[in-house]
Symmetry: D2
Subunit: 212 residues, 4 copies
């Protein structure tokens, strides 16, 4: 039934855009360190190695990469309402082990790490200014958690008119059901859920020449 669209959202595609960037969201000790009270669980290792793969290709073809990390004052005075809601979060003091980015996905010297304190990478940061000034039109969002900062970042990207893409393997959530449902919510309304291999192929094909 050609052209038929059933009830519901329809899950159209925003596509990769002409100038994508990679956003690595909160991939840090709090989520990745097995001793953290907010450890992401089994999904961490795959998410790290998949993100490392994505970063390798992205850098090869010349895409800009931006990182965010969350971190707070030791006295928690810059946490707004967080301490009321998420009890362990005040351990995540800026500069502590909980804000450290794992070696295998570490930023290069010329890549920007934006400290943030809220959920969305666009909230309380200059991310939008930096993306616009560089005429970036789309973002590939990695990191965690799928049902927290990744999703909030994708929703804001969409609202600000930027195409957003996510993969299941480069994002993670402690709760596998929440991981799955949030990716579906994103795919229905805001951004494209794509396979990592397919994404890497498209990056190489479309931007591979730019790097030469």
């Amino acid at each position: 039934m050609d052209g038929h669209v059933a009830r519901g959202y329809g899950s159209g595609r925003v596509g990769l855009g002409d100038r994508p960037a990679v956003l690595v969201i909160d991939f840090q000790g709090l989520l990745c360190d097995p001793e953290s009270p907010m450890y992401g669980g089994e999904a961490v290792d795959e998410a790290l190695s998949s993100t490392a793969r994505l970063l390798r290709v992205a850098r090869e073809v010349g895409l800009p990469v931006f990182y965010t990390t969350v971190g707070y004052r030791a006295d928690a005075r810059d946490m707004a309402l967080w301490p009321l809601k998420v009890r362990h979060l005040p351990i995540c003091v800026a500069g502590s082990r909980w804000t450290r980015i794992p070696e295998q996905i570490a930023p290069r010297e010329d890549e920007i790490v934006l400290p943030k304190r809220m959920a969305s990478a666009f909230f309380g940061t200059d991310l939008l200014a930096l993306l616009n000034a560089a005429r970036i039109d789309s973002v590939i969002v990695c990191g965690g958690t799928t049902g927290g900062c990744v999703r909030a970042t994708v929703v804001d990207a969409f609202q600000y008119g930027l195409r957003a893409l996510v993969t299941s393997s480069c994002t993670l959530d402690m709760d596998p059901l929440a991981h799955r449902v949030n990716l579906q919510d994103i795919d229905k309304r805001y951004g494209d859920l794509v396979e990592l291999d397919q994404l890497l192929g498209e990056l190489r094909m479309r931007f591979g020449n730019a790097a030469r």
Copy 2:
């Protein structure tokens, strides 16, 4: 084990605040009319009658109520990336039946209906200015969809330092699993998931005098 907090988020309470307002998000033909291609399904009737109950109490005790509706130009030029993603949304032309608010939860003349075009009620509207100017510190969020505009609104409320509360019965999503998971995500990180009856009791107890 007193005081023990397991791994994970912890789901603390933000509480009702001292000056709450009610936000009614996108309760309109697009979601509520059985002929709409984005009809919310069985959950619509209960969500409408629960919201009508909440509004009755909120008005009795003098809480301000704000509505949002989504609506676009007939030529879709004000839709940014929506048409790429959500195929049916362009039918939702401002002023059409798809933007009509159902009678049983209709706004009073002195209540503000904010037209919006994106997901969050804070995006592309003056909602935050109006709440701050009125010194509102918390919002009770109703409407739909749970996994779309309700959630985006709650996340932004939290990020802007406003306490947010949701109930299962005053919110809805076509997808019952997404409804449940999004309410859990909200409760873990951003706002309080509460029972409607308990909320109404607290409103009457704490603000009932203000109305006299």
Copy 3:
């Protein structure tokens, strides 16, 4: 003294960008109608005819044009703090003569008019989403007042990473000194103050082919 930069700001150039749009800010009865208590004075006529010239060229070469108008509820409940500060503003009811755009600079049917309530064209509107979705990288800002909404719009454009340009002849302020000083402040820090004729020449030269 080649290359010497004195103390101060330096007034570098942001330039026109690759995809400019025109923003026409609050050119409406409140500012342009001689009977308005906030009439812009002698400067109105020149600003209107200069803006009409700019619009003619912009449309010829295919630049998108966006308008804003301010307008409020008759009961002023959507004005936040304005009524405390600007006593005449509550007359500017949406749909009244004070919100009418003068014929000579009227929007075409396919151009978007964004209603706004605050100063900046980016505040409480979807302007940024629309600009980004269309990959606009720069804005030519017209209208009034120079020391009010024009300036607030230019500052936000700059902060969001968009190049902004203003001309003296397409902007206006009741207070000629404020007009001049605000244009200087803009030129020092945020956007380029350019001559209208030079701007029109550059638009024709750089984008003239696009229209064919």
Copy 4:
């Protein structure tokens, strides 16, 4: 002629609000160090000593104080469009002497210093979240420059529904005319221009008891 309001803005009063905070904007080496290429000139000494007086009273009566400083990466990659416009700004590297806050107005250990990169203290920071979470309803804005970051901060405060107050003596601009005109623009449209002595008197009278 009682009740008569002439043409123009009217300059109503927003007033001090019930829970004010002090914002100290970019009072740092870049502006205050005589060797800086962006040194604020003669006005610096008075602005510093007036702000020190204000801070003494504000702390006595228990008002929260927030600071901002601007600072960038040594490679300027986080400056968005600034380098195109303000040639000296890239010297202002985070942690350098140009970001140092002068001793006489130094923050206390429990006061928050928000690093920012754009003009407004609300842009790319969590200031609004922190103010809202603490139910602050008004801000007394000090620092510099009057025609740059002070003004941008006041405009945003107003737009977000927060009452803003400025004094001539606690703000400064290299250009005395721009200082004066920007204060007038603020007073006409967005916030109250008040005398420092009067403000200190009102703070003592209204909030003096709270500190005991």
